[in-house]
Subunit: 346 residues, 2 copies
DNA sequence: TGCACATTTGCAATCGGTTTCATTAATTCA
DNA sequence: TGAATTAATGAAACCGATTGCAAATGTGCA
């Protein structure tokens, strides 16, 4: 791909000719592991540097058995949660000599199915999928069908779970996350704790819900279903939830938002209705994206240690691709970041 | 890349054999443009569907003269401005049958230089670069050197400007953006308008600054240099700027933040010091990312119509790659989105 | 010095497509 | 119906690397 002054793409053949050796020798210098007489190696190396030669990645990928590329399929890279995980994955992959290809499904199931094919076409060695169909309890059958087909050929690593499809799970310890948040609030004296946003047909959300129920019960607090507002994972879900919560006689004194976007909506509506955060109502959330730090008040949120998560995802992908036998489920431990949005019940 | 039941990757040769035709014919069916007898075409097509066959992208890229891939090099995909532009670019590219490869430099010049090589290695037909060295007036010489080398071989499309390197510019009409914001504030009665964040050695920031000066002068208002706070493009820059501004005798009554992050810092500090936004101080910003909508108050910001920008970038890249003669500078027209953070001077 | 053995090296096949070119089959039209 | 023309097809070269294998060169030791 490097070009000489004539602007022609130069190849190992050109280097070989000028160095007076065979292309194989140049290739051996490039791949570094074969044994080449030092004198020739230097001669070739000098030309590589002279022309700033880089071997064509497509040709290399074709001839190698290993493409050294892993695919990352996410719901939407514009969401800071995903982009943070993506960058962490990429860093970890790069550290092991792998490249990463990004695909976004943008919530469209057809696109998601299509992306799996596209990644396969690119000869990726494994696919990391975060968000999208893998998170839904009842997954679209076209997706399942395609995922099954794919997993016969290359491993899928996911934070979710695909029915009937064997894949490696690298997730977040959702139970621990809920525990941290719920007990934080209980410790502050809150008992009327509401849940804002998220759909219960999404596995991680469902797990969170169940754990929330368990914890309350274990503390002798009965679960009030009206304190659970199902909705999306966005600002609006949070905003709408508060309309309902604060219209109740027994208003919640604390709200757990499904993510930082949702928390922003919750806080907005609370402020609009004249409540103060955290004096009147505490608000906490999951994900601890940079948004948690941008809002006023800054939000108490659950952090997942994205570098660790990304590394776990990438390492699993690469290890599995190399045939290593790994546990099919690993998870990262969340921790609580206390900020300004949660306080003692008054 | 599709595999049959034996889990072996199948190729056009397999399809050809089973269909009783030559690989060339299968290829013709695949590329669609050659003429193949309908009967055979159908026979081949049926097998393609049966096995869900997709031609290997690496092989295709290697044999084709056109790779139909463009590279996108950005500063940091975790920044909503970049991720929004990226998705828009990808969409536009996809619509024209092109794929996109993402690289992030994360602010490291070495990485940025390296990425140019990596993209070249991938046989991209053009590189779109937004953010990073292309934005700096005095660009690192290692970068310039590499960029020069690259542009001899493939076009670079950028929102910035690289000294001495011929590239296609697709930008934002910065002067118009400043005009919209400044006149909006002037119309609201503000005269003491401050600038928070951004470095003047960044072209777009410098352009904004110059235009700001021009507009104030044309209205007979003298420019107070103390109203210009240079800094980064983040929350902290905004936060720090307000410390200085509000310590002055003649405090500004309106602040233009260099982006939404910066605006968040500005507002935060204002609130901490007991000022209300917009009653006491108006705050506006550039970029109109979703952050502008999340904050309280919602921020009046400049929108760039990201879909149009993305399309302009991708179209330029593809057109230039195809040898079309385009104007070397095109720009998108910004517009003002008025929200809650700006109001009449009291 | 000569022979056995270890290193280097190049040839040629391969990865999986596309495309040119020559050949063959199908049409068109007088 | 047969010659001229056009459409369909396959063989083979090519894209730019890697790698198995055999040949060539170098080394060690008796």
């Amino acid at each position: 791909m490097a070009k000489n002054n004539d602007n022609k793409t130069i190849t190992i053949y050109d280097i070989a000719k000028e160095a007076g050796v065979s292309p194989s020798t140049v290739s051996r210098v490039l791949t570094n592991n074969a044994n080449v007489r030092p004198e020739k190696r230097e001669r070739v190396q000098a030309l590589i540097e002279k022309y700033n030669f880089r071997p064509n990645a497509l040709a290399k990928g074709l001839s190698d058995t290993r493409s050294r590329v892993i695919g990352v399929l996410m719901a939407d890279i514009r969401n800071p949660f995903y982009s943070t995980v993506y960058v962490a994955c990429e860093d970890a992959a790069l550290a092991r000599g792998y490249r990463v290809i990004l695909c976004c499904s943008l919530g469209e199931i057809d696109r998601e199915v299509e992306q799996l094919d596209i990644l396969k076409q690119q000869s990726v060695e494994a696919i990391i999928q975060i968000g999208g169909s893998v998170d839904a309890v009842i997954t679209e059958s076209t997706y399942i069908k395609k995922a099954k087909e794919i997993t016969r050929q290359l491993p899928i690593i996911t934070s979710g779970k695909i029915d009937d499809v064997p894949c490696y799970r690298v997730g977040i310890d959702a139970r621990e996350a809920v525990r941290l948040l719920t007990e934080h609030l209980l410790d502050l004296g809150h008992e009327r704790i509401a849940l804002a946003g998220g759909r219960l047909d999404v596995i991680s959300t469902f797990e969170k819900y169940m754990t929330y129920c368990d914890i309350l019960k274990s503390r002798g607090i009965s679960v009030n279903k009206r304190y659970v507002f199902e909705g999306g994972y966005d600002y609006d879900a949070g905003y709408e939830s508060v309309k309902e919560f604060m219209a109740m006689k027994e208003k919640p004194t604390a709200i757990i938002a499904i993510n930082d976007f949702c928390a922003a909506g919750v806080i907005r509506r609370l402020v609009e209705e004249g409540y103060r955060v955290p004096e009147d109502v505490s608000v906490v959330s999951y994900d601890n994206t940079y948004i948690a730090n941008l809002l006023f008040p800054k939000i108490t949120s659950i952090d997942y240690d994205y570098d660790t998560l990304g590394k776990m995802l990438a390492d699993t992908a690469i290890d599995v691709a190399n045939g290593e036998n790994l546990p099919s489920f690993r998870s990262v431990t969340p921790h609580l970041v206390v900020r300004e949005s949660s306080g003692e019940r008054r």
